[in-house]
Amino acid sequence: MTASLPDDLTFEAALAELENIVGRLENGDLTLDESVALFEQGQRLATFCQSRLDAAELRVRQLVPDSGGGMRIEPME
C-alpha cells in the first residue's frame, strides 16, 4: 500500500487503480485496517483524477527535423 501517489502517475493508471480499489472494498473480505488504508488511497486517487480533469489543457507541439538527421519537438505558436 502506497502512502501517497507516485510522481509519474498518469490519469489512466490512477483511474484504473481507483476502480480496482472500489472493487476490492465492495467485495469486502478485508480487515477494517486494510479497508481504511484502501479508502484513504482511493480518496487520494479520486482527488488526483478530478484535479487532472479540471486542470487539463491541450498541449500542441510539432515534430521538426534537426540538422543532425534526427528530430526534436517544438511548441506550436
Binding site: 490519469f11 479508502f39 479520486a46 491541450l58 510539432q62 515534430l63 528530430m71
Partner: protein, 402 residues
C-alpha cells in the same frame, strides 16, 4: 439555272440552323485528347480535341476559362462539355466549351479498385491486423498540414473532449503530387519518434483529385506498416480512401477521428465522481459494520466477564440472604406464635387463674396433701384452703364419700 445558288453566308446560316435544331448538340459531352491548346491574352482558350480518326475545334471563353482549376497539358485525355455551333467567319463548327476536366475519373476509379483489390489480396486490410486503440492516449500523433482547417477542427474536438492529451503534429502536405512521399515521411517520423500512443492521419474535404494522395500505394503501405495504431479521417463521410482501409480504424471525418481516438472528459468526470461516491459509501458501510461488530463483541464480553460472574455471585448471595432473612423471620414468627399459644396454655393452666375464677385448693394441714377426695379428710381434720386471695384454716365438720 435549275436552282438559285446559295451565298456562302446563306449556306453557312442554313448549316448553322440545322445544327441548332438538334438539341443534343446544345448539351454535349465529348471525350478526347487535347492538342494545340492556346491560352490567348484575351483570356479565351483555343484547342483541338482529337482521337485517332477525327479532330474537333474547341473554344473556351474567358468567363469559363477563369473558373477552370484544371489546366490541361498537351496530350491530356479530357472530358469537355459544351454546345456545338458554327463559327461563320471561319466556316467552322466547333465546341463552345464550358467545362473541361481530366478524363481520368473513370480511370481513377479503376485504379482505386485495382489497388484496393491488390492490397486486400496481400492481407493489408485484414481485420486480424487491426490493432485496438489505447483507451487513454497520452500523446496523439497527427499527420496533416498545419494550415489545414481539419487540424484546427481536430484540436477543438480534443480541447472539448480530452484535453489531457498532448498533440504531436508531424507536418506534411496533404494534396498534390509530392503529398504521398511526404505523408509517408511524416508517418515514419512519428514512428521513429515513438512516444505517441496513436496516430491520426487527417485531411478535410475536397475533390476526388484533392484526396487522391490517400489512395496512393506508398501511403497505404506506410499506414499498414506503422508500429503505432493509425486512425484515418479523410474528407467527408462518403469519401473512402485506400488509406482508410489500411488504417486500424477508419473515421468518417477528421473531427470524428479525434473523437474515436479519445474518451470524453465529461464521461470520465462522471466515472470519477461515481467511483468517489461508491468509495465513500462502501467505507461508511464498512465502518457501520465495524461498529456493529464491536458492539456485539462488547456485549459478549460483558456477558463473559469475571466481573460479571462476581456480580452474579453477589446477586445470588443477596438473593440467598433475602431468602434466609425471609425464612428466619418466618421461623421466628412461628416460634412466637407457638410461644404465645404455650403462654396462653400456661396462663390457662395457672392454678391462680383457676383460683381467680372461684375455685380453691384444699390441703391437709398436717401433711400438706392436696385433697381430691373426701375420703382423705376425716371429720375434725384441719385443712388449709387456699383462695385466690388469702387462706383459710378450717376443720372438717362432716364428710360424704360418694
Amino acid at each position: 439555272m435549275s436552282a438559285a445558288a446559295y451565298s456562302v453566308s446563306a449556306l453557312t446560316r442554313h448549316i448553322r440552323a440545322l445544327l441548332d435544331a438538334d438539341p443534343s448538340l446544345r448539351d454535349v459531352w465529348v471525350e478526347g485528347e487535347v492538342s494545340n491548346l492556346t491560352r490567348h491574352g484575351s483570356g479565351h482558350w483555343y484547342f483541338t480535341l482529337k482521337d485517332d480518326r477525327a479532330a474537333l475545334k474547341c473554344v473556351m471563353w474567358r468567363s469559363e476559362a477563369a473558373r477552370q482549376t484544371y489546366i490541361p497539358d498537351h496530350g491530356d485525355a479530357v472530358l469537355a462539355h459544351g454546345r456545338i455551333d458554327v463559327y461563320e467567319t471561319g466556316g467552322q463548327y466547333q465546341l463552345y466549351t464550358d467545362l473541361l476536366r481530366p478524363a481520368g475519373r473513370g480511370d481513377l476509379h479503376a485504379r482505386f479498385e485495382a489497388l484496393k483489390a491488390k492490397l486486400e489480396a496481400e492481407g493489408l486490410f485484414a481485420p486480424a491486423s487491426k490493432r485496438p486503440l489505447p483507451a487513454f492516449p497520452r500523446r496523439i500523433g497527427v499527420v496533416t498540414s498545419p494550415t489545414a482547417a481539419a487540424f484546427q477542427d481536430m484540436q477543438n474536438v480534443l480541447r472539448r473532449r480530452y484535453p489531457l492529451a498532448e498533440v504531436i503534429l508531424s507536418p506534411t502536405a496533404v494534396q498534390g503530387d509530392d503529398a504521398p512521399p511526404r505523408i509517408v515521411a511524416a508517418l515514419d517520423a512519428l514512428n521513429r519518434y515513438g512516444d505517441v500512443d496513436v496516430i491520426l492521419l487527417i485531411r478535410g474535404g475536397g475533390s476526388l483529385e484533392d484526396l487522391w494522395c490517400f489512395n496512393d500505394e506508398r501511403v497505404a503501405r506506410a499506414v499498414a506498416a506503422s508500429a503505432i495504431p493509425v486512425v484515418c479521417g479523410v474528407g467527408h463521410e462518403t469519401d473512402f480512401t485506400i488509406a482508410d482501409f489500411a488504417a486500424d480504424v477508419r473515421a468518417p471525418t477528421p473531427s470524428a477521428a479525434a473523437e474515436i481516438a479519445t474518451p470524453d472528459v465529461a464521461e470520465l468526470a462522471y466515472t470519477v465522481e461515481d467511483l468517489g461516491g461508491r468509495l465513500a459509501l462502501v467505507m461508511r458501510e464498512r465502518l457501520a459494520e465495524g461498529y456493529r461488530r464491536v458492539e456485539a463483541e462488547v456485549r459478549a464480553l460483558r456477558r463473559l466477564s469475571p466481573l460479571n460472574r462476581v456480580r452474579n455471585s453477589r446477586q445470588r448471595v443477596d438473593d440467598l440472604l433475602v431468602r434466609a432473612a425471609r425464612s428466619l423471620s418466618h421461623v421466628v414468627e412461628l416460634r412466637r406464635e407457638r410461644l404465645e399459644a404455650r403462654r396462653q396454655a400456661l396462663i390457662a393452666a395457672d392454678p391462680r387463674a383457676i383460683l381467680a375464677r372461684g375455685y380453691a385448693i384444699v390441703e391437709r394441714a398436717g401433711d400438706g396433701l392436696r385433697l381430691t377426695s373426701a375420703a382423705d379428710a376425716a371429720p375434725g381434720t384441719a385443712l388449709n384452703v387456699r383462695l385466690h386471695k388469702g387462706r383459710l384454716r378450717v376443720s372438717v365438720k362432716e364428710r360424704d364419700i360418694s
